[in-house]
Point group: C2
């Protein structure tokens, strides 16, 4: 029951007026990107589709709604029979989006689409915020792998979704075991400071970890003195030591010192992982440091300054009494919307580089051979189109993200604030068309 | 399995060395408050305790860990039998906290406490961030009720936890129905712009809502023209119209215009609710406007600029081979900690106003009659102390928050950036005591 109270009171009033059964088109989109970002990344589509089959109102929920007089008996009876039976299409998960990109379109009766508002927006807003931040970090890290380890900084279920979104955006793996279980993504991790402190000496802790995990493990070397710890680690593990981790202090200087020390001791293959409150800017600043991988936590799971993607869910078209669809939009003040069902194409030049996001209202925009149609079909008459959910969906979204990034002009990877890297353009609207 | 990979590899290595069975004391605390905040609010304790009884490793989880070679057979066997059997004490949910307040202490074997790290921190970091932001909004709103309606801007499960945290901090109710079902909090809501757009006219939409919900409902009046909508609403509903909602534009000016219009039409009892991207600063700016209640969304569920509470979970004391407890702490660089088991008291002056947070290491700080001991007992030998969980826990936490706020100096309510409103002071440390 991830539903806001007003969705059910609207449903009740619309059942009362009879308008609940009008065919309607709702659209999820973002009016703008977070301040200064060049692009957004669609996240969560697979999770929306996975959850829809469980989006039902059972006896416990109906009893709660009845006892608290949330809605009347007619509405309870409708909810008891509810199962989404409409159509869903939109941008593939992992795809880039821009202001007003029609990311997800839901076509059904008003009643069915209305009660999905909070559920759809919660997932899109959270997962897209994380995927968008993660993609910038991947850009900053270049060829060095990034590991997601922010679970502890966000809600326990958000953490699983954040791991999934990070992998879609290009992260190598995650610390989150539940994400591994649910989505088949790679999980990684070795030890925390508490493990060192638990033992009577750092040497005892290293011996315990190496003895149990083998010499390929990564030792955390900054509990006491880094140089002494690295020397101890090499003395015990020898040249096969897999890696060392730095989690505090001046990472740039320390990474250089530790690399030089490891090399001088003959451990040229021992890797250096850094992990202290990194964001895309800190990662970029470490580009010249001898670092082999980045562990990213807080900044990733909080969207690096943009913890939500500002997506909204708006009725853009609905049936009139004559059965014809009518484009609709709120007119007032600072939240005006563009009515009508949308279609979208990414315009590419002859070199395959994106130049604009072209949106057609009521029909697909005219496209030439280079252009790429963006809308995919996720659900038809309540039946899921295969390939978008579960582990397969994550693999597919990861590939989609990489391919979409490859189409972007180089300016997409700039970290400094700026305008969206390509503009969103509307073809001339065709009024009141379906 | 809300657990990070490294917790289980640490467990394996500690089982290997034998240190896994050492009695250990872990502490959750925040080194600092979010930038410029005067206090923090503890959120999530009840949820941690509710979830602990389900924190087990079942066949599906064990199979995943085995197939992916996360840990060895000895560790799998230990996990299969795991049920937390230690002690938990700390600050009551709803209590205020300050830098280094010992918010939650977990005392058990290293093995048992180690694997709770991510679970405990996820909940505390998320729920405390929301409760802390919510409390500032309540302060800004004064006697006017605030309604939580941010579910759509955060992960679908975070939304439920955010509703709960907001109510603990003093919110009147929430839009989130699942929070109502799980925690018995008040849910509220009427209609969105889509409901107006669904109908052939605003008048038809108003008639439908009033016909179904009664004249006490709140009508959304900014889909087209606000003045025209208010006149229509009053013409249809009469003087008994419950309220109108403004969701866009210049809320201060509009609220004044709408109030004057309603009064001129005789609707002096019709309330005005405003709901457009409010945060504590916008709420404060509306103090002089004729607004009856605030609906708060995005800013609340994202912690109003501080989406996570920066809490950490550190081993502070553990048994040595001789059975004596030893205080331990990481020494290196910018993340030094204070070792030893902590106790805390809020020092109050003779007028009952808080003057400092007093922390004793290894023993309870000396207190006089005015002072208030802060640590509560949540779990003993794995058995829950009643009263902290479920709906009862929410009611208790709400009362605790109100009482703790009443003890604070007036400066706690200042919105501008500043230092914590009371300092955290350590009594002289007693080295290496339990």
């Amino acid at each position: 029951m991830f539903t806001d109270h007003y969705e059910l009171t609207m449903l009740q009033a619309a059942l009362h007026s009879g308008a609940a059964h009008r065919r309607s088109v709702f659209e999820a989109f973002a009016r703008r990107l977070p301040d200064g970002r060049r692009y957004g990344v669609v996240g969560g589509t697979g999770r929306i589709l996975e959850g829809l089959e469980h989006f039902r109102f059972g006896p416990e929920e109906l009893n709660f709604l009845a006892q608290n007089n949330v809605v009347n008996d007619e509405t309870l009876s409708w909810l008891a029979d509810f199962k989404f039976s409409g159509n869903i299409f939109g941008y593939a998960e992992g795809e880039l989006y821009f202001p007003n990109s029609p990311i997800l379109t839901i076509e059904s009766t008003f009643a069915e689409a209305c009660i999905l508002e909070t559920y759809v927006l919660s997932i899109l807003n959270h997962d897209s915020a994380i995927a968008s931040a993660a993609s910038r970090m991947i850009g900053a890290a270049g060829s060095r792998p990034c590991i997601e380890m922010g679970s502890r900084r966000t809600h326990e279920e958000s953490a699983v979704a954040a791991s999934r979104a990070a992998v879609i955006a290009g992260f190598h793996g995650t610390s989150n075991l539940e994400a591994g279980l649910r989505y088949g993504v790679l999980t990684l991790g070795t030890a925390a400071h508490s493990f060192t402190l638990l033992h009577d000496s750092e040497e005892a802790a290293f011996r315990a970890q190496l003895g149990s995990m083998g010499s390929g493990t990564t030792l955390l070397v900054d509990t006491y003195d880094v140089e002494a710890a690295v020397r101890k680690a090499v003395a015990i593990a020898g040249p096969a030591l897999g890696g060392v981790r730095l989690d505090s202090g001046d990472l740039l200087a320390q990474a250089r010192d530790v690399r030089a020390l490891l090399d001088s001791l003959g451990n040229t293959n021992t890797r250096i992982t850094v992990t202290s409150d990194l964001d895309e800017f800190a990662i970029a600043a470490l580009a010249a440091a001898p670092v082999d991988s980045y562990g990213v936590g807080t900044s990733l799971v909080t969207g690096s300054g943009a913890p939500t993607a500002s997506m909204v869910y708006k009725l853009v078209s609905r049936e009139g009494d004559n059965g014809e669809f009518v484009s609709v939009a709120k007119a007032a003040k600072n939240k005006a919307s563009v009515g009508g069902r949308k279609y979208a194409t990414r315009r590419l030049n002859s070199a395959g580089i994106a130049t604009s996001e072209l949106v057609g209202i009521g029909h697909a925009p005219a496209a030439d051979d280079n252009d790429r149609v963006l809308l995919e079909e996720f659900m038809v008459d309540g039946v899921l189109t295969p390939g978008w959910t579960g582990s397969d969906g994550v693999v597919r979204a990861t590939a989609r993200h990489a391919a979409s990034m490859a189409e972007m002009p180089g300016a997409a990877r700039r970290l400094q604030r700026g305008e969206p890297v390509i503009p969103t353009e509307y073809e001339q609207a065709i009024p009141a068309a379906k």
